[in-house]
Symmetry: C2
Subunit: 373 residues, 2 copies
């Protein structure tokens, strides 16, 4: 392999594939980036066996292709070296004995490489009927649901986001069994087959770092045990989680004992202050109590003191409620809604609380209250 390429172009693509490398991996080839120089251009690939990322630099963007070939080089080192080289044309050349030279006018790096044949064979072929959607919309779906996923590996299904597609309706749901975030989106095209998969949340969080905010599309190629995302010049593969995702539809009632409307920003800031006198070890409990057109949010740490915050509310009936919940979970839910006013719905002090945008039912937040006696 021998080529000359601008530092800025190579760096842009190394920024993509470096995300496929886990720093914790003890298998050497999984810490490597594979460079594959063909007549069409340069492919870069990385995988940690949980995700794989492949990116492509077309030959038009490469200054000189002198000899085709494949090398496997330490991801961390090549990334840092290219990052710190000046913005010039860089010469990369495979030399004897699995080594490469990386050269600019004043720098000369010589790196040992791994045997290219040791890199896992990745099947990144398209599926027959990909789901196609806007990248910005896909990014929003992940951002609005991922936080509700569980971090606990003891229930693997809850560490992912459930994507269920029927016709042209996509529903993404995440839960850690104390809260739920559920987002509905209409697809432009109907899916030919129904989809019900669980994608690891950690991988989706890596994926959205690579997505643009613009109008470009992303393709979802779904297989029985993996999903392949195609967008811009990037292909990313993630394994799927086996197992059944809990049926959350029954959790959301049709009728409520009380609906409260509140300004999102005011409510969030009051929760944030009340949180100061809560303990994380104690689930950050705050108590919410309505009293006609105001609500009080209170909390305390006995040794330190107590706090009472007051917010203006509107209610849909004469009922009142006093209920306790995690301020952290409520803040996560409220922050996600991104609107001016929100609706909080109650069915009693031991029943799940539903939080929604006032004018939009496509995003539903649910949190379980905490019994305090």
């Amino acid at each position: 392999m021998k080529l000359e390429i601008k530092q800025s172009i190579l760096m842009e693509h190394l920024n993509y594939v470096i995300k496929g490398i886990s720093s914790k991996n003890i298998i050497p080839v999984l810490n490597c980036i594979k460079f594959e120089l063909t007549n069409e251009g340069l492919y870069l690939m990385s995988t940690d066996n949980d995700i794989a990322i492949k990116t492509f630099i077309t030959k038009e963007k490469i200054e000189k292709i002198e000899m085709l070939g494949t090398i496997l080089v330490s991801g961390r080192y090549i990334y840092e070296i290219i990052r710190k080289l000046p913005g010039e044309v860089i010469k990369i050349e495979e030399v004897l004995d699995n080594k490469i030279d990386i050269k600019t006018a004043n720098s000369n790096f010589n790196l040992n490489c791994n045997e290219a044949s040791e890199f896992p064979i990745l099947d990144l072929q398209d599926s027959e009927n990909p789901i196609i959607m806007n990248q910005a919309i896909f990014k929003t779906i992940i951002r609005q649901t991922a936080f509700a996923s569980s971090q606990q590996e003891s229930r693997p299904a809850l560490t992912g986001i459930n994507f269920s597609i029927n016709g042209n309706t996509l529903e993404a749901s995440a839960t850690d069994s104390y809260r739920v975030s559920k987002k509905k989106v209409e697809l432009k095209e109907e899916s030919k087959i129904p989809v019900n998969i669980i994608i690891p949340t950690r991988n989706l969080n890596e994926l959205i770092k690579l997505l643009e905010e613009d109008d470009e599309n992303i393709e979802l190629h779904i297989f029985s045990n993996k999903i392949i995302f195609k967008f811009n010049s990037i292909i990313m593969m993630s394994r799927l989680i086996n197992g059944d995702f809990p049926d959350l539809s029954k959790l959301i009632p049709d009728t409520y004992y009380l609906e409260v409307t509140v300004n999102l920003n005011t409510f969030y800031k009051a929760l944030d202050r009340a949180s100061l006198l809560t303990n994380e070890s104690d689930k950050n409990i705050v108590t919410f109590r309505t009293d006609e057109d105001i609500a009080q949010i209170s909390s305390n740490i006995p040794e330190i003191g107590h706090v009472e915050e007051t917010v203006d509310i509107e209610k849909n009936n004469e009922n009142e409620i006093e209920i306790s919940f995690s301020s952290k979970y409520m803040m996560d839910a409220v922050r996600t809604l991104e609107c001016e006013n929100i609706k909080i719905m109650f069915n009693g002090e031991l029943k799940p609380i539903i939080i929604k945008n006032l004018d939009d039912d496509n995003l539903i937040e649910l949190i379980v209250p905490i019994r305090t006696y």
Copy 2:
């Protein structure tokens, strides 16, 4: 104690005194901020027994002083509460049983306080002949020397910066025994008595966070076991370190075997890249070798590879040198010089290396080479 004060004004001063609180302190009163409301205004104080900070808000900046008094309240909590309250007027009132209320229109915090009499008595009186200098200059002195201090408590004198004042010359020196940074400054006024003290570097690093970049002065009040800094509305006290600071003057030779001139930025970037193939556990060793009008900086990690960087140099004679040193220490020294071209001076491969600004002898950097065989 009872007062009303704007959130922004109280916050500005809490930002000062919070730096006097160590999060690691297990003595409750040392985690507290003392509020002392007098007819002249509000004093805020904190101490962790190593430093003390006192700041003053004049009565003109306070909305209402209703009842004088003193309270002692958890620094961490009062800081976070005031920080998160809206930018309004805040009412703070001592209520029964060592408690305070902190109120705005919609928030009502009630905090437990400590017994005010438990706060250490701080003697923050002026000395007779303070040293006076520009804050920006003082800040530069600290920034250019502090990094060379030792982190190791086993030799306490090396964890501080030595300030020695004779007549109107101030010399600040720091060393961890592998490197030295030494800065000389002319004072506007002669000091009546010679000074030779060691101030803990950690405390000076906290102090410079409080200093402005403008033309205001700072007063240094020096006592046998402490130093008091007065600037703006702030008084900060630091203990001094007992012990003898090593005599560094003999380390700096008058003549050199070879003087090399190099562009600072080019040299720094070459070192930074060469550092990529060094190990911290191995002191980040790089080798510097002159060859007529160029120098080569090389390093290697046997399993990973090697690198050779080339920089243009000017020499003052025909001599050549090959010498090894810590790239990290050299980069720390070079970065500190803040100029276009630097002079690097050698007396042999086992003798200290001196680094200076090409046109200014007031800042001298020294690093000890590393024997590689």
